[in-house]
């Protein structure tokens, strides 16, 4: 039983990281209707800022705040300078532009810090506590807690603030939003900025575990995409639930099914996602979209 709890909590902690990037993807999707492959690249770039600061002796928490600010500015600038150019054009081209940004940001991070992984100090004390007979690391609990706070904040933002309402309107119909006097371009910049800031938090949380390198989040991005799409792409809660589901199912399968083992465990949540999507194409929490002629 205690082993079971440990496996589940580890799964939730992995899921929390997937969820943070998934939330960032959901944020950009809600603001711009685009899937942003550059999300991982922006997060890593911001995490490297935190890395440089901690190496210079700045406390981790301050470095995190700096990374969040840097991420917000980076996201806004990339939207303004690069993505603005592709809005209203072919969505495929815009998505490939985000792929280009991913490659470019990875290359930039490597330019300054090289490709080899570096250790990164943890935000939380490196201790474990007993929980129902299992040993659970404070890092896992901290990661999950931070994530839940972010999710709640995003949900509040979209549901109860004018800014959130405006961002939803822009994602839904940019032309009508502009006609009703919403500053569409500024809202898009804010959407990208928030997403990159969120990525920075995820990056700083996961870096102690993965070690920081330009490709650190490449794999997380795939999980996060799966979580975002499974969750329905327009629902922060859905993304988090889906990410937790993926993290836990993966860990349980790896721990309890002998023929799956550590190498094949990634297949389990993905097969589950396929089955769920075929049954429920709009995702777990997504709304059905009716397409008219």
């Amino acid at each position: 039983m205690s082993y079971f709890i440990q496996v589940v909590v580890d799964g939730l902690s992995n899921g929390a990281i997937y969820a943070a990037i998934a939330l960032a993807i959901v944020l950009v999707f809600r603001a711009t209707g685009l899937v942003n492959f550059a999300q991982g690249g922006m997060a890593v770039a911001a995490t490297f800022v935190a890395f440089a600061l901690t190496r210079a002796g700045v406390p981790v928490l301050l470095a995190l705040i700096a990374a969040v600010v840097f991420g917000f500015v980076l996201g806004g600038v990339l939207e303004r300078v690069v993505m603005r150019h592709f809005e209203g054009g072919d969505p495929d081209t815009a998505v490939v532009a985000t792929i280009a940004l991913l490659v470019l940001l990875t290359g930039l991070s490597a330019l300054f810090f090289g490709y080899e992984p570096h250790p990164f100090p943890s935000l939380f004390p490196n201790r474990t506590i007993g929980f129902l007979g299992a040993f659970v690391s404070l890092r896992s609990i901290g990661t999950i807690a931070v994530l839940l706070v972010i999710m709640a904040a995003l949900q509040l933002l979209f549901r109860y603030t004018k800014l959130g309402l405006a961002m939803r309107a822009v994602a839904d119909n940019p032309q009508s939003s502009a006609l009703s006097g919403l500053p569409v371009s500024r809202l898009l910049m804010i959407g990208w900025g928030l997403a990159a800031a969120l990525g920075a938090i995820a990056g700083v949380l996961v870096a102690p575990q993965l070690f920081i390198s330009p490709g650190m989040l490449d794999f997380v991005l795939v999980y996060a995409l799966a979580a975002a799409i499974l969750g329905g792409l327009d629902s922060p809660v859905g993304a988090v639930v889906a990410a937790a589901f993926i993290g836990v199912v993966e860990n349980l399968a790896g721990a309890y099914l002998d023929f799956i083992g550590d190498d094949l465990k990634i297949a389990v949540p993905f097969v589950a996602v396929i089955v769920i999507l075929i049954v429920r194409p709009q995702g777990l929490f997504g709304r059905k979209v009716t397409v008219r002629v």
Partner: protein, 344 residues
């Protein structure tokens, strides 16, 4: 594609020149160049499949690398068991096509991102599966093979022989695809991409059309896997990673979505840009590739295939600059219509 090749004699002359270049190129080039040229042929066929499902039919596929890898593994298995290459080629086409069709039968009901997710899962699940099924795939080490040696009678070196093998397959694939997209099926692809409800009202089943597009894309992916093994003589789980799929999508858009010529240009881009970037500075390959990718997207949003048109419009605009500046989008949106008009 553009006004120069609009007339029939000029088109035929262009094709003859292309054929002569394709035939003579390996005879005068170094093995290294031949390897790169052969690689372009390999990825051209993979991107051709992707273009049929994504460019022409408008269905996102992030799983093309899985079919490429599947084809390469089938071919490697064939080499190990001394199958004749023709049998390998047929199986490399048929098995991925069947797999692709089965996936599409389940997935083609879905739209947009749900579809993207299912296709994305193929390489994600495929890579660890390839590592695990050691007996079939050789596990993480992959399979090194030595096959398709040049027959003595031809007097060709191995690299030249392999070049001819893959280029012949690529030319056949391109010719078939060219006819496919111009015909009835190609028109049903286009209307499904445009609007599924309209397609339905015209008696075209979007579901069946999408399954067909996916099946053809998987078939071409598998064939490109055969070609990959012919050229590289090695395959491993790395062949089918998700990032290969992403790069193939990028190359397709860079070359030109829904364009046969663009597909070939995209393949050249896919193979050559990392090589060139590596020659400029081997530790900055990602940085340079990303910058080039972004630059091309900025300058030619409709892909490399629109370069002649873009140059022409720039030249035409020169007399009165600044005046009202017709957007490049107008030119690119008009273009497909005019190009179909000239070829019909």
């Amino acid at each position: 594609m553009n006004t120069f090749f609009a007339s029939r004699p000029r088109r035929i002359a262009g094709l003859v020149v292309l054929a002569v270049v394709l035939v003579l190129a390996p005879l005068v080039s170094s093995p290294y160049i031949n390897y790169q040229l052969s690689s372009i042929a390999v990825f051209a066929v993979a991107i051709l499949g992707l273009n049929i499902v994504m460019g022409y039919t408008g269905q996102v596929s992030l799983g093309q690398s899985a079919f490429l890898g599947l084809g390469a593994y089938i071919a490697a298995y064939g080499v190990l068991h001394d199958w004749p290459p023709v049998l390998s080629l047929v199986l490399c086409a048929v098995i991925p096509a069947v797999v692709g069709m089965l996936v599409a039968l389940a997935a083609a009901r879905l739209r947009g991102l749900a579809l993207a997710m299912i296709t994305l899962a193929l390489p994600i699940v495929g890579v660890p599966l390839a590592r695990r099924l050691t007996d079939l795939t050789g596990g993480s080490q992959g399979r090194v093979v030595s096959w398709l040696r040049a027959p003595e009678a031809t007097g060709l070196a191995n690299d030249q022989w392999r070049y001819y093998v893959v280029v012949v397959i690529a030319v056949v694939a391109f010719a078939l695809a060219h006819n496919l997209v111009r015909g009835r099926i190609g028109r049903s692809f286009a209307i499904v991409k445009e609007n599924e409800a309209v397609a339905l009202s015209m008696g075209v089943s979007p579901y069946r059309t999408k399954v067909l597009a996916f099946t053809i894309a998987s078939l071409l992916g598998g064939v490109s896997g055969f070609m990959y093994l012919a050229v590289v003589q090695y395959t491993s789980p790395e062949t089918l990673t998700f990032f290969t799929s992403i790069n193939l999508v990028a190359a397709m858009v860079i070359g030109g979505s829904a364009s046969i010529v663009g597909t070939a240009l995209g393949a050249a881009y896919y193979v050559l840009v990392p090589v060139l970037a590596g020659q400029v500075n081997s530790s900055r390959t990602a940085l340079i590739s990303g910058a080039i990718l972004l630059a091309v997207l900025f300058l030619l949003p409709a892909g490399l295939v629109s370069l002649p048109r873009r140059l022409a419009s720039l030249l035409r605009r020169r007399p009165q600059p600044a005046a009202g500046a017709p957007t490049p989008d107008d030119a690119t949106h008009r273009a497909p219509a005019s190009s179909t008009a000239t070829t019909e």
